[in-house]
């Protein structure tokens, strides 16, 4: 409601503003109007009753107006000046002018109550032309406030992030939190955790604690302990004397140091320094033996000092003093000396004495015999040198140089005839080396070649023999097949062999075996055969593969030699009781001609299946399009070739290496409906998911404990317990736990 009323008010304002503008155009007219209004004013005041009626009428009109549906402009009661109404308004003077600051401040001069200071300030304000930036709009300021509030709150909430993550990752959550574990507790815990509960107990305990009496382990009271700790008088005296002495000594020492510091003699300082350094050396040596760690620290300090010296220009000749001395040096012996001295100092300071010390240290370490105690990085500077890297050794390696020289020499040798002896020698060496390497290379090559050659020969031989064997076996088998009619059971092994071979070279065999069939096939697959040029075209490759396959097959045949079983008793009744004599006869006939058509039938079927699985070539040629068409006219060869779409070959069949097996490639749709077809949330690879569900969950396959573990619910709540939101204390505890966990993980 409030908003609506506000809006109305603003509308009114705008409307009145518009009125003002229009007023500006004809001020005098308005004036006249107002005058008239003034005149009428009196009448109205007189005729109060009439006015009331007027209002009522207005309202009525308004009501009627709203009835018609179109809203009329409501002319409310006026408080400001406008064109259309003049009855009750007051005309503002200077209407349309902008209000100036001076207008507002102008009256200040006259007011006596104001202090001079504020007046001055106001004046300054008047003089300054700067306008204050208008305040941000309400929306913007609110947005900023909201942003800030959001940031604050999100920061606060993000404290809980780790807890949430932990809970998400937890295997099981038990609510309410902080439940005490059920089950019997050890009695000691109970006793230790005991607290005073009854008022009497509490009073007793307050008394005890107020008097500093021991509560748990009554051995000594704190006061007793304090008294035990207290010293005797003599001891105290001795201690005081000691302290006094120490203080005196310290003051003497300080005084001495101050005095020494004031001494300006250079010679004295030199001597002092020398003594100090000597002393230090001695100490250091001792330290190396006694406390290598401290020695190392000392070393480090020295190193640091050296570094600083090298970095600074303190003892270089670039300081102001040094430059002035340099200018003077030409003429003044003393200045020259001074500069030299300074440079010497610099040299001394920047000299690397670490190495020698290090060596010393190592030696001492070895002497000590506990080499394993020596910290590793003591040796780093010396032993960490990488010999392969010439920059690390500090000098270029000898070999490099030698090579370079030799190279240069060879080049020169080509150019010049006259040479020095040394050079000659090197050249000879180079040549020798070259020869040697060449010889070696040649030998290796020869050996390789020999190996390859022999292998190849062997392979060839093998191949040839294989081929021969193959052919022979084919012939023999065929011959036998023709001669004996494949009736006897003794030839079973050969028949099997034949089966294998046929599987491999079925096409050829079939052509030899049964021409009629082949012809049939040819007629059947007339259009197909040229489209899939069979293996015979690129003979070598297929031949090789065939050989390889044949090897495998033969092996299989070898392992599959039928073993004759010995039976203790021969069957007396040979299926004589079979009531179906006909069937038996048929069986006998089948037995007699077994293996003849069975195998070829099977192979045919297999081939058929394979062909069915292959994608067909799609022919998109439109006859008569772009050329002559009609009866007996074939589209051109080029066109047919162009519009024939070859499909991508299917994945290899599952039974491609199993000659005696046909495995159906049809997708079984029934089980697919029950399989998972979209990986659940955190998983990204199917293999991982499959692995996680690899073990069964049910009671049929698992022990009871496993089932319980596997089917543990994610959230457990206690019946009837109130689950309260987590408190801040929980957060702190969790943090501690998390840190402990991380440290443990680091440990492990």
């Amino acid at each position: 409601m409030a908003k609506v009323s506000k809006k109305k008010a603003s509308k009114k304002k705008t409307r009145s503003g518009g009125a003002e503008q229009s007023n500006e155009g004809h001020p005098d007219v308005v004036y006249d109007d107002e005058k008239e209004e003034d005149a009428t004013d009196e009448d109205i005041t007189v005729e109060d009753e009439d006015e009331h009626d007027e209002r009522k009428r207005q309202k009525l009109l308004e009501a009627i107006g709203t009835l018609s549906g179109k809203r009329k402009k409501t002319l409310g009661e006026r408080s400001e000046a406008a064109v259309h109404m003049s009855e009750f308004t007051v005309n503002a003077e200077g209407e349309g002018d902008k209000v100036d600051l001076s207008d507002l401040i102008g009256s200040i001069e006259k007011t006596p109550g104001l202090s001079g200071k504020s007046k001055k300030r106001l004046k300054n304000l008047e003089q300054s032309r700067k306008t204050i930036e208008c305040p941000l709009s309400k929306q913007e300021s609110e947005r900023i406030r909201r942003d800030l509030a959001f940031q604050k709150v999100s920061k606060e909430v993000s404290h809980w992030k780790s807890v949430i993550r932990q809970n998400e990752r937890a295997e099981q959550l038990v609510f309410p939190l902080n439940q005490e574990p059920s089950g019997p507790k050890p009695i000691e815990r109970v006793v230790m955790g005991w607290k005073a509960q009854t008022p009497l107990e509490q009073e007793v305990f307050t008394l005890l604690s107020a008097n500093k009496q021991p509560i748990n382990d009554p051995i000594l009271t704190p006061t007793e302990e304090a008294s035990m700790k207290a010293m005797s008088l003599e001891e105290a005296k001795v201690r005081r004397a000691e302290l006094q002495k120490a203080r005196a000594l310290q003051s003497y020492y300080e005084a001495k140091a101050r005095r020494q510091k004031k001494i300006k003699s250079k010679k004295y300082h030199k001597v002092l320094n020398k003594a100090k350094s000597k002393d230090f050396q001695k100490q250091f040596d001792e330290m190396v033996k006694r406390d290598p760690a401290a020695a190392l620290e000392e070393l480090n300090k020295m190193e640091m000092a050296r570094m600083q010296e090298r970095m600074s220009l303190k003892h270089q000749n670039s300081s102001k003093w040094a430059r002035s001395k340099a200018i003077m040096a030409k003429y003044d012996e003393g200045a020259r000396k001074a500069i030299q001295q300074q440079l010497e100092v610099n040299k001394d300071l920047t000299q690397k004495l670490v190495t020698s010390l290090n060596k010393e240290e190592e030696e001492t370490m070895e002497e000590d015999g506990n080499a394993d105690v020596v910290p590793d990085f003591v040796n780093d500077a010396e032993q960490g040198l990488d010999f392969s890297n010439p920059w690390m050794t500090g000098k270029l390696s000898q070999d490099c140089v030698e090579k370079e020289t030799s190279n240069a020499v060879t080049i020169r040798a080509e150019e010049n005839v006259a040479e020095e002896e040394e050079v000659e020698e090197t050249e000879e060496e180079v040549l020798l080396r070259e020869f040697d390497s060449r010889r070696k290379r040649r030998q290796a090559q020869e050996a390789d070649a020999a190996v390859i050659l022999t292998e190849e020969e062997e392979e060839e031989n093998k191949d040839a023999s294989d081929k021969e064997e193959e052919e022979l076996s084919e012939f023999t088998s065929l011959f036998k097949g023709i001669a004996e009619g494949c009736g006897e059971a003794d030839t079973a092994a050969e028949l099997e062999k034949e089966l294998k071979i046929r599987c491999l070279e079925d096409e050829e065999l079939l052509t030899q075996d049964k021409e009629a069939e082949e012809e049939e096939e040819a007629t059947d697959k007339g259009p197909v055969v040229p489209q899939h040029p069979p293996a015979t075209e690129n003979g070598q490759k297929t031949g090789k593969s065939r050989k390889r396959r044949k090897g495998i097959e033969l092996k299989q045949v070898l392992t599959k030699g039928a073993q004759v079983l010995q039976v203790p008793f021969a069957p007396t009744i040979e299926d004589a009781e079979d009531s179906e004599g006909k069937l038996d006869q048929r069986g006998l006939i089948k037995e007699a001609f077994a293996g003849d058509d069975i195998i070829s039938d099977f192979l045919k079927e297999k081939r058929k299946q394979e062909d069915a699985g292959k994608p067909k070539v799609v022919d998109l040629t439109l006859p008569g399009w772009g050329e002559w068409g009609g009866g007996g006219l074939q589209p051109s060869c080029r066109k047919r070739k162009k519009f024939r779409r070859k499909m991508t070959p299917p994945p290899p069949r599952k039974d491609q290496h199993l000659p005696g097996v046909i495995i159906s490639e049809k997708r079984s749709s029934s089980i697919r409906l029950h399989q998972v077809n979209a990986l659940p949330f955190p998983f990204e690879s199917p293999s991982v998911f499959e692995n996680t569900i690899r073990s069964a969950l049910g009671r049929t396959w698992n022990t009871e404990r496993t089932v319980k573990k596997v089917t543990k619910p994610k959230v457990v709540t206690k019946l009837g317990a109130i689950i309260e939101p987590m408190t801040r204390e929980e957060l702190v505890k969790d943090k501690n736990r998390a840190s402990a966990g991380s440290s443990s993980s680091v440990k492990s």
């Binding site: 039928a562 089948k590 079927e605 079984s668 089980i671 396959w701 404990r705």
Partner: protein, 599 residues
């Protein structure tokens, strides 16, 4: 040892108080905890050399202390610390697939969340495996075997000798039923091995509690009987008669005559799917769901008379043998054979698959006995039997029985080792017609022309039975309970496939393929749009031209919709692209901190 004590106490004042025996054991606990904390801290400060040395010393000292403590006699150490070890082979037995290799798991690419899940599942499966291996201890029985004297063949030992040598109850398991009147018998043992069903060719059907030799029922169906089979329990059985398939209860009352199943020659019952698979003379392979009495699938195999049949207990695939020497594998979900293998030169006479679904044994007209690895479809062994084998049966422990004429031979380890001699042999009075090993018993039932013989074959049956699955000693109440549970755990026929673990694989087919499958299963396309059929209007407004116009209008509207949508999409894409470009431009105009190095 005392030296060590001195060393530790002098060098390490920090741990000196621990050497004294604490007053309370929990105090010691606390101390140890503190120690651990110390250790952690020390570990954290590994950078400092000196501290590490100290740490080493402390650890050494700890070790020393540990060494020394048992000798002091304060604690008795466990001679076998940790959980009992599990033999590797037993663990291997319960292994399910390999663990994920670390190589495939590129850990830094996997989210923490997933890592947790993987670790947890690994844990669970490892625990399952270990626990199962551990509980294998609870299978106390061992399989028996027959061992001959020196230079005595086990195959020469007669059944009478064995029956005399063994205890009375076992000896009573060798018996003959002389039923010469109703001709060669087929037989079937129930899943628990307690009940025997006999079906004589000339119509005699009998069920017997064979251990107690109690006759449950005996009827003559007055028709030729081709095959008999127990259903899921001993309360019902199916009989394939001359024309139809009948179902009787254990009292011999005819429950159903199923006319949909005609000329059935052989039957197999898939116990976990409650499916009765039948092979008929009309070359139909049919599946009957016995829990709801519905025909699940009827497949025309187009291979002639089907009189050789067996099931693969591992994956519930039906194997059929054919006269052209092939063995085909079938599931109810596919109208064509899953696999077709050429096994024999002549017709196939019998097929058997072992319990684990690893080996298939076939015998053919070419008098050969072949062993195949049915997982890879590769031949393993080939034997030549002088007379060929008419019937084959594999026992639970992998013994093979083969019947040639009137002789039954039992072979041991046919699949794994080359065999030259049978393990046992027995001559019967008539030609063998049916052959079956009894589950959980060392008994081979042989149905022949002159009745039935129950043979003793030591080492044939599984010595340990699963009481929840097939309990030979269950009561009627237990049987009822089992029945309910089994029905609830019934596996749907949809899930029968060559690889039983296929269900746990992720289907990576495309959406189109899946939709196609769905259409195939449902028989219609659920997402297909309805075809517009114009309403009939009167007053000559349904003239052919008007109808055509209306149709065209609708089609036009649809096309417009499509076009509108595509245009909207295009506009949207364009907008998005522009937005992206704008952002890119804004980014590129932004100055980076490295710009100062650019020239």
């Amino acid at each position: 040892i005392t030296k060590y004590v001195i060393v530790t106490s002098s060098n390490l004042p920090l741990f000196a108080p621990i050497l004294q025996p604490p007053a309370r054991y929990w105090q010691e606990l606390q101390e140890e905890e503190r120690k651990d904390e110390n250790k952690v801290k020390n570990d954290a400060e590994q950078s400092k050399e000196a501290q590490q040395q100290e740490e080493d010393e402390t650890q050494k000292a700890k070790k020393r202390k540990q060494d020394q403590s048992p000798s002091d006699g304060e604690k008795k150490s466990d001679p076998f610390p940790g959980p009992a070890p599990i033999p590797e082979d037993r663990l291997q037995k319960f292994k399910r697939k390999d663990k994920l290799k670390k190589v495939t798991l590129v850990f830094h690419l996997i989210s923490l969340f997933l890592r947790d899940i993987i670790a947890r599942s690994e844990d669970a499966s490892e625990m399952a495996q270990k626990q199962a291996a551990r509980f294998d201890l609870l299978l106390p029985e061992e399989a028996g075997f027959l061992e001959g004297d020196e230079d005595e063949d086990t195959c020469m030992i007669s059944q009478e000798d064995i029956a005399e040598a063994v205890d009375i109850t076992s000896g009573a398991k060798y018996f003959n039923l002389k039923l010469s009147q109703f001709g060669p018998y087929r037989l079937d043992y129930s899943k628990t091995g307690r009940h025997l069903l006999l079906g004589g060719r000339r119509g005699h059907v009998a069920c017997i509690d064979w251990t107690s030799k109690q006759l449950m029922c005996e009827i003559n169906v007055m028709e030729s009987v081709n095959d008999v089979k127990w259903l899921h329990s001993e309360a019902m059985y199916a009989v394939a008669q001359k024309k139809w398939l009948y179902i009787y209860d254990s009292n011999g009352i005819e429950l159903h005559c199923i006319r949909k199943f005609n000329d059935v020659l052989r039957m197999q019952f898939l116990p976990y799917h409650f499916l009765l698979a039948t092979a008929s003379a009309t070359s139909f392979l049919q599946y009957l769901d016995v829990s709801v009495g519905k025909e699940v699938a009827a497949i025309c195999t187009k291979t002639g008379r089907l009189d050789v049949m067996c099931q693969n207990p591992h994956n519930a695939i039906i194997h059929l043998g054919h006269a052209n020497g092939t063995v085909t594998l079938w599931s109810p979900n596919q109208k064509e054979a899953l696999v077709k293998m050429l096994c024999h030169q002549g017709g196939v006479r019998s097929v058997a698959v072992d319990k684990t679904g690893t080996y298939m044994v076939t015998s053919g007209m070419d008098k050969k006995l072949k062993v195949y690895d049915i997982r890879a479809f590769k031949p393993l062994k080939s034997y030549f039997l002088p007379a060929g084998a008419a019937c084959l049966s594999l026992s639970q422990r992998g013994l093979l029985s083969a019947a040639t004429g009137d002789v039954v031979q039992v072979y041991k380890d046919v699949c794994s080792m080359p065999v030259t001699k049978p393990y046992m042999a027995h001559r019967l009075r008539g030609t063998v017609w049916g052959l079956h090993f009894c589950p959980f018993e060392d008994v081979l039932g042989v149905g022949h022309g002159d009745g039935f013989t129950s043979m003793l074959v030591p080492g044939a049956g599984e010595p340990n039975f699963d009481g929840l699955d097939a309990n030979p000693y269950r009561s009627a109440k237990q049987r009822q309970e089992w029945e309910v549970k089994a029905l609830m755990e019934k596996i749907q026929p949809d899930l029968i496939s060559l690889d039983p673990t296929e269900l746990a694989q992720v289907d990576q087919a495309t959406w189109e393929q899946r939709h196609q499958d769905r259409v195939e299963v449902l028989g219609f396309d659920p997402l297909a749009k309805e075809k517009f059929v114009p309403k009939y209007k009167k007053k000559g407004r349904s003239s052919a031209g008007a109808i055509e116009r209306r149709k065209k209008q609708v089609a036009h509207e649809e096309q417009r919709d499509v076009i509108r949508k595509s245009v909207e999409d295009k506009v949207k894409m364009e907008k998005e692209r522009k937005e992206r470009e704008r952002k890119k431009a804004a980014l590129s105009t932004q100055k980076s901190a490295l710009d100062r190095f650019k020239k």
